[in-house]
Amino acid sequence: MRPINEMQLTFESRSANEAFARTAVAAFAAPLDPRMDELCDIKTAVSEAVTNCIVHAYGEGSLGKIYISAKLFPDRRLRIKIRDCGCGIEDVKRAMEPAFTGFPDGERAGLGFSIMQSFMDRVRVSSRPGRGTSVIMEKRIPER
């Protein structure tokens, strides 16, 4: 199915860009006229994925690029791809388990992937250690 609109963003893995990323994707999704709670779901999922790139893929203290592309489809699906060229994930399945965290200092809940999975319709993660990770998420906004 061909998208009816698409966009791409590239930005540095600075934590200040977490708000920029979720706001930009929410603005792109606006033509679907999502409800407030659906918009919040999308913003939260994007925030989690981008935070993972900053905290885990590149690690705080080093900078890299984060790439977001998003597409809107005629069946009212929003597809978001968030990609980094960071350290990658050895065991994606394990990383996606609830409460798994690479930083067990008590300040990171380890809920990023759980939130993405429960707030979006579909989440697919692919990763190559040393090369980077990409997260593809989809959500359909029903017509009202």
């Binding site: 979720r22 913003k43 939260t44 925030s47 935070t51 008590g106 809920l111 759980s114 707030f119």
Partner: protein, 123 residues
């Protein structure tokens, strides 16, 4: 992100506002922890009623404060939770660790309250 701390003998109340994400969480926890360590209150209240967005960094913030208050011999209460925040909190299961007071904001629409009631019956 502005934070208002109300400090009395036995209670430190941290009124959070705006958007809570990984970017802002560090400054928040440093300010809250320095007050809690100084006052050593019985209760640390985290008031989320003016928070408009929160991702899992907010859960990390609550978890870390629970741990701190436990080490100081006190406890944490979370208040002013509604809408999207409630959804994130429920998913985390943090309500098994900290006392959560649901918000009853008069500004909230009737429809929203009904939806919330329906959500609560679901649990």
């Amino acid at each position: 992100m502005p934070l208002i701390l109300n400090i009395s003998d036995n209670v430190v109340c941290a009124r959070l506002s705006g958007e809570i994400d990984h970017h802002g969480a560090k400054a928040l926890r440093e300010q809250i922890d320095s007050a809690a360590e100084r006052v050593r209150p019985e209760l640390l209240e985290l008031d989320f009623s003016a928070v408009t967005f929160m991702d899992s960094s907010g859960i990390g913030l609550i978890m870390g404060r629970c741990r701190l208050m436990e080490s100081l011999g006190g406890r944490v209460r979370v208040s002013g939770v509604s809408g999207q925040l409630g959804k994130v909190l429920r998913l985390s299961g943090i309500d098994r660790v900290a006392a959560i007071d649901r918000a009853e904001s008069p500004a909230r629409s009737k429809k929203d309250q009904e939806r919330r009631r329906a959500d609560e019956t679901d649990q």
